[in-house]
Symmetry: C2
Subunit: 186 residues, 2 copies
């Protein structure tokens, strides 16, 4: 959702106070993320958990939810951002820094009800054109995951189709079905 | 929208009477197209007109709206299907046949309000994986056009970005802006 008709510089945008839902910036325009809903929140949580349960003990990567990332002249807050271990920015004390200015290795966007997924497709295309290795669009209404890589045709995954993330997280396995099954609470 | 839980063969599906909106068939499932709305109808009309105004006098191609096409084991009704002149199926009298069993060169899907565009993205990916040269997803809410080609990253067009359809319709020019401007009636 566009919330400002005025054109801002990236520097001026980054001085704005943080809001909830987060503000984002691209091509001079400020937009606000969609308010998260139940399914969105559940999928975001599950994905971060599944990714970290695999990647953290192996020191392969860390998954962050709602992390501001500023690169490619824009400032975005992917629903999930994954950085491989050696790319996680840390300070001299080895602590994670607050300001991330490198593209994540994996960025995930989760569709909310009534949200234009075409806009999310454009966002995923922008991610992979600007240094993100893999971008995922997870759509609970369609029960499908679109997988984007730079200069490649996207893949559409449903049911038993597995996320092939070997380039980012070798050995990590998750199917579309497992993702959407997490929405069912027994 | 899925309208049947029963699995059918393609042959059994093709014996069903035509309905309005059209029924479609893929992977054993029958679905029904979304009822067209004002903007959808306007965009469909404008695209067919613009394509035919250019392509018909030059004997380059013909654009058909709501044409049933059966190929790749499925039966779909793209909002617009374009066949290059020498691929238009004709009978011995040179008349267009009724049953199209070859993929169009260009297939266009137009998003309707409230429709999952992720499903339309999957459909466009299916088209280009099954012999369609170029598939377009036109989204009036997002005022963007996604352009799909086999084994290539999709392009996202907005504003002055031009459709590059040189491989199908050399010389044809149309920008995203011109497409969506046609929704404004003065």
């Amino acid at each position: 959702m566009a919330i400002s008709g005025q054109h801002l510089t990236l520097e001026a945008f980054l001085r704005l106070p943080e809001q909830e839902p987060a503000l984002e910036f691209k091509e001079g325009k400020v937009t606000q993320k969609v308010s998260p809903t139940g399914r969105h929140s559940r999928l975001q949580t599950v994905l971060v958990e599944r990714l970290n349960r695999f990647a953290e003990p192996r020191k392969l990567a860390l998954a962050f939810s709602e992390l501001r990332t500023t690169f490619g002249g824009a400032s975005s807050v992917p629903d999930v951002a994954v950085y491989r271990w050696d790319r996680i920015p840390v300070d001299e004390q080895g602590q994670v820094v607050d300001t991330f200015v490198e593209p994540p290795d994996l960025a995930v966007e989760i569709a909310s009800p009534g949200q234009s997924t075409t806009g999310l497709v454009r966002r995923c295309l922008w991610y992979v054109a600007n240094g993100v290795q893999v971008a995922l669009l997870v759509d609970p209404d369609d029960e499908s995951v679109l997988v984007f890589r730079a200069e490649q045709a996207p893949q559409a995954l449903r049911g038993p189709d597995k996320l092939g993330l070997g380039d980012v997280l070798p050995g990590f396995e998750l199917s579309a079905q497992e993702i959407f099954d997490s929405l069912r609470v027994y």
